[in-house]
């Protein structure tokens, strides 16, 4: 009987891509998703480290090759392994996964700006007819300089339960399924003490009926931008008190100047009235 140790080694060995005859070699496995395994690799010709993803079909590589955007990890090369699996070499993204990034980012505004950057490549892909179908924090990397890269494009329609739109289970998917997932990501980015307008944005993004959601990541991102700018949020009907608070937040300098002016006037009136 083979031991647990040997069994583990055999499993790894059976998965290793046979890259002989290519310019790449495998260094170690660095990730595994529903669609494939990602290895840290070496490009012998250019002497640089790359990420090599091995998967059962070439769909993802074809999808990625058609999406050139700063927020989508670029594909360098693709091919077929001797055993019929496909691989593609892509830029090695250095940084943190979104969930890890959010854990160490205290300020809500910083988190929301990162969220807006996630919406950009998703909107770009939608404009080219590509729906991600499996957006979640583990598929999003935040680089050392705050750049956002959305990965794992080309999922065949099976999302991740916590982020999957209800209609996705029935196989009816359009860009609004990604809006739903983005809403779930926004809930995480907004944290526990989520302000009311932001909560309304999340609620609209994750409506059960796709027709009731934002119809695109652009609309969703615009509402988040409105919130950041202390402007009215389309998803939220605000009370008079909230409107006053928002007005105050938005016009802090003006209010400070008016207050200073009034105080000065008061001092002058009191001085003259002595």
């Amino acid at each position: 009987m083979i031991s647990d140790k040997v069994l583990a080694r055999l499993k790894t060995a059976a998965e290793l891509p046979d890259l002989r005859g290519t310019r790449y070699s495998v260094i170690e496995q660095i990730g595994r998703g529903g669609m494939g395994v990602v290895y840290l690799g070496e490009d012998a010709e250019l002497g640089r480290r790359v990420a090599i993803k091995v998967l059962d079909d070439a769909r993802e590589a074809r999808v990625l090759a058609g999406l050139e955007h700063p927020g989508i990890v670029p594909v360098h090369d693709a091919g077929v392994l001797p055993d019929g699996r496909c691989y593609y070499a892509m830029k090695l993204v250095r940084g943190a996964r979104l969930d890890a990034f959010l854990e160490k980012t205290a300020h809500l505004q910083d988190r929301l700006r990162i969220f807006q950057r996630i919406c950009e490549p998703v909107a770009f892909a939608h404009a080219r007819g590509v729906v991600h179908r499996d957006l979640k924090p583990s598929n999003i990397m935040v680089g050392e300089f705050g750049e956002v890269l959305v990965m794992d494009w080309g999922a065949p329609g099976v999302g991740t339960p916590d982020f999957m739109a209800p209609e996705q289970a029935a196989g009816e998917v359009d860009g609004r399924a990604d809006v739903f997932a983005l809403g779930k990501i926004l809930e995480i980015a907004a944290g526990e003490s989520i302000p009311k307008p932001l909560r309304s944005i999340c609620r609209r993004a994750t409506e059960t009926d796709p027709a009731q959601r934002y119809q695109s990541p652009v609309e969703l991102s615009a509402d988040v931008a409105a919130y950041l700018d202390h402007m009215p949020v389309s998803a939220h009907r605000e009370s008079v008190g909230e409107r006053l608070v928002r007005f105050g937040s938005r016009n802090r300098t003006l209010l400070a100047l008016v207050a200073a002016y009034l105080i000065m006037r008061l001092i002058v009136i009191l001085w003259l009235g002595r």
Binding site: M1, I2, S3, D4, K5, V6, L7, R9, L10, K11, A13, A14, E15, L16, D18, R20, R32, G34, D56, P82, D83
Partner: protein, 229 residues
Amino acid sequence: MDADTQIGGHNARFPETRPSAISAAVSDDQARRGPGQEAMIAAYWKPVYRYIRIRWRCSNEDAKDLTQSFFTAAIEKSFFAGYDARKGTFRTFLRVCLDRFLSNGRKFASRQKRSSDFVVIDVAGAESPEDIFEREWTRSVFEDAVDELRANFQSRGRRVAFAVFERYDLAESPASYDELAREFGVTSTAVTNYLAAARRELRKLVLDRVRSVTSGDPEFRREARAILK
């Protein structure tokens, strides 16, 4: 674990018919059902036997006896016919049937009274039954695939290639590529090539086995991911 069973495994023919032995095993057609059931039993004998030994703490002979009893009951009572691919994998279905059989079986209960080997252990806090069964199923698939790989390489006169694979991927403490090159009088590149060829064929043999006992592409993909993860 002391002595192990030789029943099942590479001595039993692995099903080669496609799309799968499962569809034959649950078929209404008697002529298809018999071979289908035999193929499923050959594929699952070892994992069932080992699961009984580990999860239910049985001796070698008792585990063999219970494995035989379980599969006999499975055929007599048409357990396999109750499998619905939409509800989960066949492996999980079989494990649940097995636990139910062992928990409720009168034979098992009566044996429990006369043998301390049959004390049911509490696995709470340890590995889950599903994990134990998956691991033993994985081990069994890889063992059978390695046996077939050895036979294939020997029949093609590639004994050195298999020996290198054996010394590297099957060894508890593998030698380095350079050590293997010196030991077998070949270059390090040849070692790399031997390993790549053996691993590629091993993968194919493993996936062939998984495909033959799954009900269709979605289950095959799930099981392939589970077995290689």
